[in-house]
Amino acid sequence: MLLKMSRRAILAATVALPFATAALAQPYQQAPMFEELVKSGKLPPVAERLPAKPYVEKPFDRVGKYGGTWRMAVLGGGDNYNFVRTIANENLMRWTPDWTATEPNVAESVTVNADATAFTFKLRPGMRWSDGAPFNADDIMFWYEDVFSNPQLTPSKPSIFTAGGQPVKVEKIDDTTVVFRFVRPYGLFLQQLANGFGQLPTIYPKHYLKQFHVKYNKDGIDKMLAADASAKDWVQLFNSKITPNYLTVFWQNTDLPTLFPWVMTNKYGSVERVVAQRNPYYWKVDPAGNQLPYIDRVTWDQVNDVQLALLKAINGEIDYQLRHIGQVAFKSTLFDNQKRGNYRFFDVADHPANDAVLLFNLNIADPVKQAIFRNKDFRIGVSLAIDRQEIIDSVYVGQGDPVQVSVRPDNPLYNERLAKQYSQRDLKKAGEYLDKAGLDKTDSEGFRLGPDGKRFSIIFMVADVYGLQYPDVMQLVQRQAKQVGLDIQIRTTDWSRLTSMQAANEQEAYLWNCVGGESDVYTDPRCYFPFQTEAIFFARKWAQWYADHSTGEEPPAEVKNLMGLYDKVNEAVTDEARTKAMKTFLDASADQFFVIGIVQGPDKFGIVKNDIKNIYPKPLPQSGSMWGPAPMMVQMFFDK
């Protein structure tokens, strides 16, 4: 990947050059709404607002024209990802639209040393924040020295900025050059930076935030604290001005300068319509030298019920959206109303490793259940008892593959054993495996008894969210499991309830999906070994131990071995080495068979108005860590 990246970086530079020269040969153009402002002197001319070498966005179709409002729907609360995924993904690196390689984004270029321990970023001279203040190495150093390294603001360092247990060291070389150094090889770093969570270095504008930082403005802060009863100290004050943008606070501070194509003009949560206006200092242009984005305004109408979002869509009040709209259950209604809403569908390649996964809590406190859940024979038995096709037929209208948690077949990392093992229903064998696991006696109603002589009942938690239909899937699983004498009890609940359960490590089992069906498996292999510490998952205590050996619970040797194999992936320097390490890891993960996958579902979808152009022509890549479609939105335009 690294080699490919470097090659791409060079390629990007050489490709960008003719564009850049072409762009220099002609004056830059701007949106008509800025012409007046420039004439009246309220705004500098467009050439001064752009960096010396703007990022040149290659249109999917053609050069567009300015104007229009992009309308969407947002939930009344907690829907930060609606903004994050549409207007907020400007990191040092970015993924190519097809999600196969990374390339410089905010950075003009990047060079990596031979053992992948030092990453040198060249920034764009003349680049500006959305309020016109220059963006340069000082902003990144502000993040590094005053936010990231400040023990009060960042008590524990985010894992993507650590390697070998040590946090990154950032150095400023000059105004436009910074180096990120790690103590151990970290070949995945550029991917992590291109992912959504790689945002941190480029969201902290020093000129604005230093007034809230004790190091720069001690006296001023005391006054502010006296005036603001809700903050008790400078840390709280600072955190009320900025957080990472997946938290709501970020979207409620309209004074915060950003590098995004559109900037918020009102606070999410307090208004019925959230509006973002184009950023006059946005640093990307099209090949003809037009400053991007093409679309003037983005609006999100607040809805409290997703059904209303669907009604808005069929009434033509949504221009482009996949979040909330792209639910399997909505498809037929949307299909029937395409004409009246004047929209069409686009495919979304959101490829999780599995769409419905049974996750038994391997760290459950109850010793009887723990012993059974940890027994691989038990998990094999359950897996063999499931009629995946029945679930696919009823819940996914016959579309999808009956496989385990696995990388998708079109990906080079595909492992057939991982995908197909124990996925064929076989009630006789399932019974044998369950017998072997110690559940060999039954009661009068035909349910299996545990080793303690009591009926072995498993309480499965299901969250009824995002139209994922998990309660339905679970109900079918329950019936199928009953046929081999397993008693499954379903409890439907909401996410926050589940989270408090997992904090207490109380949940016996639950149903959710698994990321890691494509290249994101490199950075987020949470279903392949105990890796996820905070979210509710299958072996939280082992994962905690993996993150920090002084916490959690030490796992058995074979699990530790698997952890070591993933460390190798993280450290690999070349693409070839990394792929090889990953394949070894995945194969070893197949032996453990921690979780039981049910289906890799059909492609997801979104809707787009017929008069919107420059839409990515292929299925739009999406994943939990890659925040689309934001990187492709600046070139979208209305052709009325």
Partner: protein, 328 residues
Amino acid sequence: MRDYVLRRLLYMVPTIFLISVIAFIIIRLPPGDYLTTVIAEMSANGAPADSGTIASLRARYGLGDAAYIQYWRWISGIVLRGDFGLSFERNVPVTSLIWGRLGATFGISLTTLLFIWVLAFPIGIYSAVRKYSIGDYVVTFFGFLGLATPNFLLALVLMYVSVRYFGQSVGGLVSPEYLDQPWTLDKFADLAAHVWLPVVVIGASGMAGLIRIMRANLLDELYKPYVVTARAKGMSEFRLLLKYPVRVALNPFLSTVGWILPTLVSGEIIVSVVLSLPTTGPLLLRALLVQDMYLAGSIIMLVSMLTVVGTLVSDILLAWVDPQIRYQ
């Protein structure tokens, strides 16, 4: 009369104190707190929970403190400074969120009340006068039909019909194009075109109750001797009806204002969520779900308090009309 009002005002103090305690208990009942919700949302979206940020937010919101300290901080802020605390999720003071929405809530509730009265009043009289007639059965049937239909369902169906067959933009109180516009005559007309939906949906459930009260009260009066006397003296049936029995029957009718308001406000919560109205309902429901406790607590308390005040006002009105009540 003054004593009566004073006594009632005095009773209000412990009631309101109790309400504030209950409001606080309600929001503390579910396990977890607001930050559990934040972590849940982050992990549902695949974000690594950033424990540093979470820890500092926990400190900022004072979520680590004991319940009684939190209660004291909240209630003392309200009593001493009129400060209802901070909405965790919205990152703004609660006061800046609720007053406008409270206005909308009461606006809709009062419009609904008016709507119910205008319909329930004649229907009630009719079905009392024509007891057990086909007409009585038909009107009471439709009245009860409104009561019997779950209003969230009615809201969704009416919304779908509006979109599908009339092309009307639904959700909220105004069309999207007016959302971020200042108030103009056009916007007002647009509001009027939208407000019927929530009013009908919420009103449908309250109608039957009032029809029944009107009918029962009037029936009580209709056979009293003074009516018979008036009729014997040759008074026209219509005037007779309006002049005495209806007026007497109206008294208890008025007293229903006190309890119908909380019913309407509660009914409004679910309907407002379905219709996405800018009222306290969705705000409250969301606040309860994510345990945004000062916001939820403040709304519960304010709505309850206004109900108590409403009951008081209707009682005082009644006492003023009917001296007997005053001295009870």
